[in-house]
Each structure stands twice: as structure tokens, then as C-alpha cells.
């Protein structure tokens, strides 16, 4: 029986996991696909690096082209990361009729449509389950599980680093800076954490999920992004006091007038299933018109969870090869994209204001909300022990984004308001 030969681009965390699973589960995999699976060649940065697995040095190379152009290799697994060079490699591989499995969210968010179009042209598979939410098979679920439904909302905790930081801040009352430092020491955060903490990583994943869920071509620039670096421990304490958990949520919504996609720190009602997702875990909440509320929970990163998704994709590619149907099941977005304008995007808001402690302040403030037709759910005024003046917490009803921006602009010039301490989206 001829082995199916695989080429690996990259042998870092995920690549190591892929080698482990292919070796350890070889028998189970064979039972499913009918052939042995052999890793034929691996492109690595350094040939000398010490590795936690034993790999035959003869299959290692520093030249990615040796993998991509290898005549016996049918499937390329890309786990090296990077965007521009990687795109060149993968397009070339497709050009040569090779199928792709990738865990690269940056690449798929930026050039997914180009790569998928090339795959269709070449009748090749490109699968990327591992690019979003690691071990959770959410891409399959959106493509196949909900093919019959009209998905109207996707909310995701799709970045483990920020969820770890926010969970820790919430549970221990610690500051953002302290927890970030600890997360860096534990390896949960990069030494340059920008991509995670500023929400860019989550935005890429939401572009992918939005594209699949709404069957329209969501691009990274369509996602409005705010990170967690401005979230204070005080904000989290207030949120908890009101019955909310602070989460970095990606939110993609669809209504008749269009779609909106955003990533921002969000106060989530504790009774919402996604509020309980803690630590480095990920979860994607999907609301479909017919199916209603669903949620998918699991490890969002890490060697073995991510490799599980990569190898599941590999199994799917090989099954397609055996049936001769590669590239024929690709989901090409077929809906025209219509982005909502800011006055079509509605959500609840939390505002924390530091104000003068004198009569009539509340009246002035509520007057501004009324002027822009934003109605209020609750207003709580508390004297502040640390600072002069008082604090006012406000939760609005659903309000459109444009009006809320006008309210905030107005507040900035209102004399009785000393400072807008924080503002957050509210869900649930």
C-alpha cells in the first residue's frame, strides 16, 4: 500500500504536535484513510536546534522549496507562520497541484480569498480549521453543521492570551500590567504582546469566521478593533458589581441592512454562556435563526489541540484524494458584502464618568442622552472615596454607535464632567 507523503513547512510548537499525532495515531489514521501517512520532508529554520521529538535529520531542510517542489509530496502542511513569503510558497504549491493544510490565521485573514480561488482553479483543497480557535472544529461547524441555517450573530473569545489576562484580573483584582508580565513569564503572552492585547489577532480570526458564517468576503479592514490595554482593574470591579464579566469579544452580526464585525473589551452578563469561559480557553457562540443559541468551547492554542485540527484537515484532504473530489467542496463566499453604517450598529453601552459632586449634574447628563435619543437602562451615582467629586455609572439600552459617539463627544465639552473614565460595549 502506497503511503501518502506529506511535507511540513515549520517544526515549531504546532509542527511538533503534528509529527507526534501522525506517529502516535498512525494505526487509527490508516483505518480511516486506507493508507499509511508519511512525513517526507520538513522545512525548518535551524538544522541544529534541539527538539523535543526525534526526527530523522535526513528529512529536515532549510529550503522550503525542497518541500514545496518535492515530486512525491501530495500535501503541504503549513505551520511556519508569516504572511508574504508564506503566501508565495502556498500559491506555488497549489500551482503544482499540491493540497494545503494551514494553521495560519494571518495569511487566511489577509489572502484567504486569493488562496482559495487558486485552490478551486487547481482543484486542490485548502483547509484551515486550526487557524481559528485551535482545537475547536468551528470552521467545519460553520461550513457544514449550519449550512441550512441563517447565522445572525457570532461572538468569539478567540484569543487565549487576553482571556487569560482578563480572567486573572477579574479573579485576583490584579492590574493589567502585573498580569501581562506574569503571562509573559508563563509563555502565555509574547514578549511583544501587541498583536494579542490590541485585538489584532482576534480581528483576523473574526474576519475568517464572519466570511464563513455570513458567506460574504469579510476583510480585516472591515473589523473595528479595540484591545484590552486600557482596561483597568477598577473597570473590572465595577463590571462584576453590576453582574458582568469583562471579555475581549469578537462580535459579528448580520441584519437585513448589512453586517458589522468588531473586536472590543465587552461587559458580558454573567448568565450568558460565554461569560464563564475562563483562562486560556476559547469559545465561539453562534446564533442561527433556526438553531438558536449554540456554543463551542475548547483549547484555543497549544501544541496538541492545534495539531488535532491540522491532522483532522489532513484526514479530510486524503479522503477527498481517494474519492477524487479535492477542491470541489470549497465554500466560495457568494453574497455581496454590505457593511452597516455606524448609525445601523446597535448595542448597549456602559459609561463611567467622574463628575462634579453638585446638584443638577445628573440632570445635565441625562439631558445629553435624551438629545441624541439614547435611552438608559440604569444610572448609579456613587461618591468616590479616593478622588474629589462623584462617579456615575450608566448602562444604556440598545443605542446606535453613531449616537453614542455624539454623546461622548458632547460629554467631552461638558464642564460638570471631569473625565470619561471608561466606556464599554455591553452584551447579554
Amino acid at each position: 500500500m502506497n503511503a501518502i507523503k506529506i511535507g511540513l513547512l515549520g517544526l515549531g510548537t504546532v509542527g511538533t504536535g503534528v509529527v507526534r499525532i501522525v506517529e502516535k495515531h498512525q494505526e487509527d489514521l490508516m483505518s480511516q484513510v486506507g493508507s499509511p501517512i508519511r512525513i517526507e520532508k520538513i522545512a525548518v529554520k535551524s538544522l541544529e536546534k534541539e527538539r523535543s521529538i526525534a526526527v530523522d535529520p535526513a528529512i529536515l531542510t532549510q529550503d522550503p522549496w525542497e518541500v514545496i517542489r518535492h515530486p512525491d509530496i501530495d500535501i503541504i502542511i503549513e505551520v511556519m507562520g508569516g504572511v508574504e513569503d508564506t503566501k508565495t510558497y502556498l500559491l506555488d504549491a497549489l500551482e503544482h497541484g499540491k493540497h494545503i493544510v494551514t494553521a495560519n490565521k494571518d495569511l487566511m485573514a489577509l489572502y484567504g480569498s486569493e488562496i482559495l480561488a487558486k485552490a478551486v482553479e487547481q482543484q486542490c483543497d485548502v483547509f484551515y480549521e486550526a487557524s481559528v480557535a485551535g482545537g475547536i472544529p468551528i470552521i467545519r461547524t460553520l461550513i457544514e453543521g449550519f449550512s441550512s441555517d441563517r447565522i445572525t450573530k457570532i461572538m468569539g473569545i478567540v484569543n487565549g492570551t487576553t482571556n487569560y489576562i482578563l480572567t486573572k484580573m477579574s479573579r485576583e483584582g490584579a492590574s493589567y500590567e502585573d498580569v501581562l508580565k506574569e503571562a509573559q513569564q508563563l509563555g502565555y503572552a509574547e514578549s511583544d504582546p501587541t498583536s494579542d492585547v490590541e485585538g489584532l489577532d482576534a480581528a483576523r480570526k473574526m474576519a475568517i469566521l464572519g466570511t464563513l458564517g455570513f458567506r460574504t468576503n469579510v476583510e480585516l479592514r472591515d473589523v473595528s478593533v479595540r484591545g484590552i490595554s486600557s482596561v483597568s482593574k477598577e473597570d473590572i470591579a465595577y463590571a462584576r458589581q453590576l453582574g458582568y464579566e469583562m471579555k475581549l469579544l469578537g462580535i459579528a452580526e448580520r441584519h437585513d441592512e448589512g453586517i458589522s464585525i468588531s473586536v472590543q473589551p465587552t461587559m458580558v452578563r454573567t448568565s450568558h454562556p460565554i461569560a464563564a469561559v475562563s483562562g486560556v480557553f476559547n469559545a465561539v457562540y453562534v446564533y442561527g435563526e433556526a438553531v438558536g443559541e449554540t456554543m463551542f468551547y475548547g483549547a484555543g492554542a497549544g501544541e496538541m489541540p492545534t495539531a488535532t485540527s491540522v491532522v483532522a484537515d489532513l484526514v479530510a484532504v486524503i479522503k477527498n484524494m481517494k474519492l477524487g473530489v479535492n477542491g470541489l467542496r470549497a465554500i466560495v463566499p457568494y453574497k455581496e458584502k454590505k457593511l452597516k453604517a455606524d448609525d445601523q450598529v446597535f448595542y448597549k453601552n456602559f459609561l463611567l464618568l467622574q463628575v462634579d459632586d453638585k446638584a443638577g449634574v445628573l440632570a445635565q447628563i441625562t439631558q445629553v442622552f435624551a438629545e441624541y435619543e439614547v435611552s438608559l437602562d440604569s444610572v448609579i451615582q456613587t461618591p468616590n472615596a479616593q478622588q474629589p467629586g462623584a462617579e456615575i455609572m450608566i448602562v444604556t439600552h440598545l443605542a446606535n454607535k453613531a449616537s453614542m459617539e455624539k454623546v461622548i463627544k458632547h460629554f467631552e465639552s461638558l464642564e460638570v464632567i471631569r473625565r470619561i473614565k471608561s466606556s464599554y460595549r455591553v452584551e447579554g
Copy 2:
């Protein structure tokens, strides 16, 4: 463009949802499968029944054979329920080259292997996503999403009726009988609730999940079953006091020595993600060696959620038809079945004993545990205000089932124990 013609067996709750989705999402479905989908014929019990949807009376028939043998129909959607007759219909349909989508857990749990074997023989598809956990695409997830992993544990809240009853008992301190009556009035429980409350419905679903997760042919008789009718509000109050929620859990486990599958009321640590699944919602927790902890949550029943899964299967069948690969992706269990003996099944236990309130009782009891090598996690003795004597709550460490049965047998003959009030499996 030729329409794909569908025959429906049954037009009850789920059938109605299928008709609704096929009509309402016709355009989206066409974009995915490339053909219109038409419901050609529907077998119903009564032609006169008033229905919540408008259906052309000309396509209704009281004769299932008119649907099964209809020459233009390619796909049969079976949502009529029943086992023996239904099996005859479906085997005949397969014999005539028709593909099957079914929501019938009873049928699949009892005759799944026979039906799937016939499908492979006839190169036909048989899909049954809706048979377990309604709108949650858990069957796809086990077959495809985790094809690369070795699943070692599946825990499911797969019966909405019992979860509704237990949730209500827990939140309101109400009795089983009162909540059951209310559930029946609300339509959440049948007038004969036996199949739900005695755990049979959940057992059928666990047989299906076990078969897919462990890739071995789990049969209904392999599942040990205990229902919730003996759960008292006092038990639930004790559970909460110790930090547990009472849930009817299906638990399928795999170790090197074999598999075990059971359904029983279980005390689940509140920090476990499945403990928070409340009301009529379902959830399936899956632990894989590589992927670790995952959980899939959503509506377990109801017209539209269940129909979502049925129509998603329909889309998959039609895509396979277009590619000419029906029946070629069937998962046939390939592992030999090895069931664990009782002394190989380990779990924690909760016991509530009513005992004489005198010196030495605790020593006698702990002596029995020691004799059968069951070690204890905690023992709490409380005077009972309502009854003479005292109560002892015991939580064991992991103990094998055979030993625990011996402990309980021994307790029954121990004079100082007046009554074994309750015993439960403990998880988390």
C-alpha cells in the same frame, strides 16, 4: 436546472421545521448545492389534521410506500419516528438506491449498524445528525473534527426533559413530582415520561455517541442506565451544599482495558463547564488525548433546531450526489468492542446514610470502606432535625464499581445503618 426531489416520512414537529427551512432558505441552499430542492411527497398519519404551515394537499399521502418507492425521489427524510416499521421502510428505500436523512435515535441506536451496512452496500448516504442533541452538530464533530484524536471520554446532557426537571428542582427547591407535572403541562415532558425520566432516551443517544467516538459498535444493551425518578429535592440540596449540581449525565469512557457507557443522575462539580448547562439545553463534553477538554452546547430538541440538523444533512447528501461519492464516506466502526468489567470502572461516589446516633457508628462505617479498599474524600455527619438518628454524607475517591456495590451490600446488613438514603456518581 433540475430540482432535487425529496420525500418526507412524517410531518410532525421536526417535519414541519424541515418544510419551513427548505422554503425559507431555498435561495441560500441553492447557492450551496447548485439545484433547487423540492419536497415532492410527504407521508402523514392524517390528511385532515390542521397544520401550522401551508402544504399542497396533493403532495400528502397516508401511504409511506408512495414516498419510498416514488421514482423521482432521490432522498428520503425520515422524521416519523418508530422503530420496526420504519426500519423496513428505510431498508427498502436503500435497496432502491435512495439516500436517507433521519432524526430517529431509537432506530439508529437499535439498528444503526444494519442500516449503515446496507447503505455502504448500496453506495447510499445515511446521515443522522439530528438524532443526538438536536441542533448541535456533534456527530459531524466526532466523525470529522476529531478524526485525528483519541477520544477517551464523552459526557452528555442529551435529554432536555430531564435537564429541565433537574434545573427546576435545583433552582426552586421543588419536588420531582411537582416539576414533572409542570413539565408535562408545558409540553416539555410526554404524558408517559418513562423513556425520558428513566434514562432510556439518553442511553440511546449515548450508544450512538459511543460508537462514533470510540469507533466500535456500542449497542443499547452495553449502556447501564438509571433514571432520575428517585432523585429527591433533599439530594439536590445536599449536592448544592457540597458544591455540585445534579445532572442526568451520559458518560462514555475508554481506557486501554476497554470501554464503559452509562447514564445516571450524577453530581457534577459546579466548576465543570457542563454543570452550568441548564433548562432544556443540551451539551456534549468531549475529552480527547490531544485536544483536551471541549464542549458543544445548544438546543437539544424543538422544531427548528432539529430541522437545522436534518437540512444540513440534506445539503451534505446533495453535495455528495453532485460529486458522485454517496456512501463512500461512511464511518464503519473498525475497533473490536471490549467492555470493562465492573471492577475496571472507576468513579467517585456520594452516599447519604441515615444512621443510629451513637458512639462508634462512624468507625464501623469507615471500617467497611477500608475492607473493600475504597478510600474516602470527605465524611460529614449531621444530626437530622426531622428524624431520629443522624445523617452521614460521604464522598469517596475514585473507587471501582464492583467494590462500591459490595460496600452498599454490606451496609444493607449493618445494624447501625437505618437506611441508605441515596447514592450517586460524582464527576469533576
